[in-house]
């Protein structure tokens, strides 16, 4: 995975961005909006995850889309434009075909957006954001993230040691395996408690439990983050106005209806396109800047 320019922004900016994009993607089923959102999701996923993302989308997302889009008209028969009748006498309508395509497109788009979210919002960013609301929780989270790999490691150490005296959970008949396994789990509990005492000492010794604990993070909300936030706020404002005017909405049943395209709705489309492609734009801009700096030297 290559370094993402967007991921280098403050976690707050990252989080607000994904929250907005995901919400809009689910709310607005207008075909233009859907196309824009899908385009943005795919472009960003490819930029973030490279060839793996392309493979994932072709192998899983495309079949998923086709199956879901095909399934809807077979089970939903609402709509006024009847195309033909199935063998069992149920009608297949244009509206339900279109709605099925739109719903599955939305579904796929959300999944692709989430793959971008996972690449950008790492656990420490998430923890930082929610740690500010609940500092104790964020510490517990950090301790769990420390404890789990440690526990797994120790389990392996004990399992290996037991294997060398013929008492591992992988050796012997199944009753024996179960007995060995239970024995190992019980000693692991002892081990965890035993070591927790010393960790508690280490925490107390460094003043844990004193009032007015603060929460430190390595993230800084700088001017760059402020600029991007302002830019995003502007785009969001346009989009919300668009939603209020009804330009983003579509009605599928009983018949398909969208508002006529106006100058304003084109502005809203443009704003949505900019928003969805924002990480890609930032990436391209930074790549270009980097190249131009390098070539100047």
């Amino acid at each position: 995975m290559r370094r993402s320019a967007f991921a280098a922004y403050h976690p707050f900016v990252n989080f607000v961005y994904f929250a907005a994009v995901l919400a809009f993607c689910m709310l607005w089923m207008h075909p233009v909006f859907q196309a824009i959102s899908l385009l943005g999701a795919v472009v960003n996923a490819v930029l973030l995850n490279g060839r793996r993302a392309i493979r994932f989308q072709l192998r899983f997302m495309l079949p998923l889309f086709v199956i879901m889009a095909a399934a809807n008209p077979m089970f939903s028969h609402a709509g006024v434009t009847i195309l033909f009748y199935m063998k069992d006498g149920n009608p297949v309508t244009l509206e339900s075909i279109l709605y099925g395509a739109a719903a599955s497109a939305m579904y796929v788009t959300v999944i692709v957006w989430f793959s971008c979210y996972n690449a950008v919002m790492t656990s420490d960013k998430f923890m930082y954001l929610f740690g500010r609301i609940m500092p104790a929780l964020s510490l517990i989270f950090a301790m769990v993230l420390r404890f789990v790999p440690r526990y797994m490691h120790q389990l392996k150490v004990i399992s290996d040691a037991q294997a060398c005296i013929g008492r591992d959970y992988r050796q012997g008949g199944w009753i024996r395996r179960a007995r060995n396994g239970i024995r190992m789990l019980s000693i692991m509990t002892t081990w965890a408690l035993e070591n927790a005492i010393e960790t508690a000492d280490s925490m107390k010794s460094r003043g844990y439990g004193l009032p007015n604990r603060t929460s430190f993070s390595i993230f800084r909300f700088d001017r760059r983050d402020r600029r991007l936030s302002a830019c995003m706020a502007g785009l969001l404002l346009v989009l919300v106005l668009g939603a209020a005017s009804g330009a983003n909405a579509i009605r599928y049943f009983p018949s398909v209806h969208v508002q006529a395209m106006t100058a304003f709705s084109v502005l809203v489309y443009a704003a949505y396109l900019t928003l969805c492609l924002l990480p890609a734009l930032i990436q391209t801009w930074e790549d270009w800047k980097w190249k131009s700096i390098r070539s100047r030297n």
Binding site: L145, R150, C164, G166, S202, K204, R213, F216
Partner: protein
């Protein structure tokens, strides 16, 4: 100004009559580096824990501990948290969070510092300790040495005026331990932080210390400068001499009874100078001559006879005599033939073209740095891992294909690096009995076997204890007993001396010698050159996934330049074949007077 003043301190754990600390009187000056030593269970850790209220265990206590002139209890928690830094023994247990940067900030977060302060302090600390390169890493990816350095740094980020360390290097390999102690020395030297350290690896710590305190069964027997303390211990002929640096050991044995003319040597350099002064001349050319008089140059293996017991010598003889027919494949207990191994398909080779044999009845020690593949080689022998090319055989069979019950009963015994990982029961006694639960022996027979093993490992008083409550040395003994119940003919040991003090090491060495004399083949992997030189028969050096050289231990270590014992480094300009402290002592005594 005194930072700690301890008066008439007595302490006993609840329910125990015997005092853990008795009548301790001690003052520690600001900026001092104090090393506290003593055998396991002498009260070192108990004493350290009296110096920070929140870590003090429950028990009966009398006397006073004053911090900066006031009773310690009067210093509030916030002051103590910031001012008194405490680093624990187990690197893993000290670390609380999952990321290096977060761990560095942990103490400052507790103190309620603001972002700006924390950012600065964390940055400073990381730079001072050279952590910036792994600042963003998750803790689970760090090595043991890095973890302990992180513990130290995260305490130092709070800018304490006293730093207390409880055997901080016992779980580290020698290189990491030396680096760690060098960092502690740097803190003391460059920041003026008072350091109070308990340690059993005194070779490195002693030259750093301003003062050495020796505890024996809860009382303070020596409290003096390193040189004076060593001299006093030497005069007392105290058992703790065995834990002192080699030059001190040699000096104290050679100068026994005689009055001291020169300051006692603490480092290898001083030891060499002392030897030269004692011998009157330091001309390198005389080296061979002196060795010839010694007779050892004619027979490089003779030095083994000089120090070993008669029994050891006899085994040695038989091995030497067997040398000619040793080439026969059937006498190999463990054999590697062109073995290659890697953990991942795309990963680097960990074992590269390793060909090596351990003959039946040998006591073989493999030494080498971290990450060279030593432990991996052991896992290949025990069948936990399989080579992707080449062959590993145990008594001519492939361990990975053998059934566990066949391989590990009357065959292969493995003592893992962490002996604790062998225990699964509530008491040592139950743990040992469990080993025999599957055998078809009669009750009396089992009883007899258990008794024999318990007597051998001297576990009589420990049977009722929880295995996790034992000290490091006791755990090692109990683990050895557990493995011995399977009556192994080949014993593999991974870093058996890790965390053991000199006293327990000597004990372990004697056990291994006895087992070896009974015909058990022993293969141990260790960083502990001193131990290998003292007890092993064959030495082999592991480097870059293969064994670079192997030979009988004395010529093996005598031939190495850096990777050899302190005794050899100290005396090799006179006696190139003197490898252990005993060798040097024997040579000094035979010719000095």
């Amino acid at each position: 100004m005194e930072i700690y003043t301890i008066k008439e301190l007595n302490f006993a754990f609840p329910g125990q009559d015997k005092a853990a600390l008795a009548n301790i009187n001690l003052t520690i000056e600001e900026g001092e580096f104090v090393a506290i030593c003593g055998q396991s269970g002498c009260g070192k850790s108990t004493l350290l824990r009296q110096l920070k209220t929140i870590l003090t265990p429950h028990g009966r206590r009398s006397g006073t501990v004053a911090y900066r002139g006031l009773p310690l209890e009067e210093a509030d928690r916030r002051t103590q948290a910031a001012d008194i830094g405490f680093v624990l023994q187990q690197p893993d247990n000290g670390i609380v969070t999952d990321k290096v940067w977060h761990e560095l900030a942990f103490g400052l977060e507790s103190l309620g510092c603001d972002q700006r302060t924390i950012r600065l302090r964390v940055a400073e600390t990381a730079s001072f300790f050279g952590i910036q390169n792994w600042f963003h890493k998750p803790v689970s990816e760090l090595s043991g040495g890095q973890k302990q350095l992180l513990n130290l740094a995260s305490v130092m980020a709070m800018q304490p005026s006293v730093l207390i360390l409880d055997e901080p290097t016992s779980q580290l390999d020698p290189i990491a331990a030396a680096d760690f102690l060098a960092s502690v020395g740097k803190i003391n030297r460059e920041l003026g932080t008072t350091v109070i350290l308990t340690e059993h690896r005194l070779e490195e710590a002693l030259p750093l210390a301003d003062r050495v305190i020796v505890l024996d069964q809860g009382t303070m027997i020596v409290n003096d400068s390193p040189r004076e303390a060593s001299a006093k211990l030497a005069a007392m002929q105290h058992a703790m001499i065995a834990a002192m640096p080699t030059p001190v050991q040699v000096y104290s044995a050679v100068e026994r009874g005689g009055e001291r003319q020169v300051p006692i040597p603490l480092t290898v350099k001083e030891g060499r100078q002392w030897l030269d002064r004692m011998k009157g001349d330091s001309v390198g050319g005389l080296m061979m001559e002196s060795d010839e008089r010694d007779g050892s140059v004619l027979d490089p293996y003779a030095s083994n006879f000089a120090t070993g017991s008669a029994r050891r010598a006899a085994i040695w003889n038989s091995i030497l005599n067997r040398k000619s027919d040793a080439a026969k494949a059937d006498s190999a207990a463990v054999a590697f033939r062109d073995v290659w191994f890697k953990y991942e398909r795309e990963g680097p080779d960990v074992i590269k073209d390793l060909s090596f044999e351990v003959k039946k009845g040998q006591f073989c020690c493999i030494v080498g740095g971290n990450g060279t593949g030593k432990s991996t080689a052991l896992s290949l022998i025990s069948g936990l891992l399989q080579p992707y090319r080449g062959k590993v055989t145990i008594n001519g069979r492939n361990p990975a294909a053998a059934r566990a019950s066949e391989l590990f009963t009357n065959g292969l015994g493995v003592l893992p690096q962490n002996p604790q990982s062998l225990f699964v029961k509530k008491t040592v006694g139950l743990d040992l009995r469990e080993m025999l639960s599957d055998t078809k022996l009669t009750t009396e027979h089992k009883r007899a076997k258990l008794d024999a093993v318990i007597r051998f490992a001297e576990l009589e008083s420990l049977l009722g204890k929880h295995p996790y409550d034992l000290s490091g040395g006791e755990q090692q003994r109990a683990a050895l007993a557990k493995v011995l119940l399977l009556e192994p003919r080949i014993l593999l040991l991974d870093e058996p001396t890790k965390g053991l003090d000199g006293f327990f090491k000597a004990k372990l060495g004697r056990y291994l010698e006895r087992l070896n004399a009974d015909g058990v083949t022993i293969l141990l992997v260790s960083h502990d050159i001193e131990f290998c030189a003292r007890y092993g028969q064959i030495g082999a050096m592991f480097f870059d996934g293969a064994i670079i050289s192997s030979d009988y231990v004395k010529p093996f270590f005598a031939g190495n330049g850096f990777y050899t014992t302190a005794a050899n480094r100290m005396a090799r300009h006179r006696w190139p074949n003197a490898v252990t402290a005993e060798d040097v002592i024997a040579r000094c005594s035979s010719k000095s007077r």
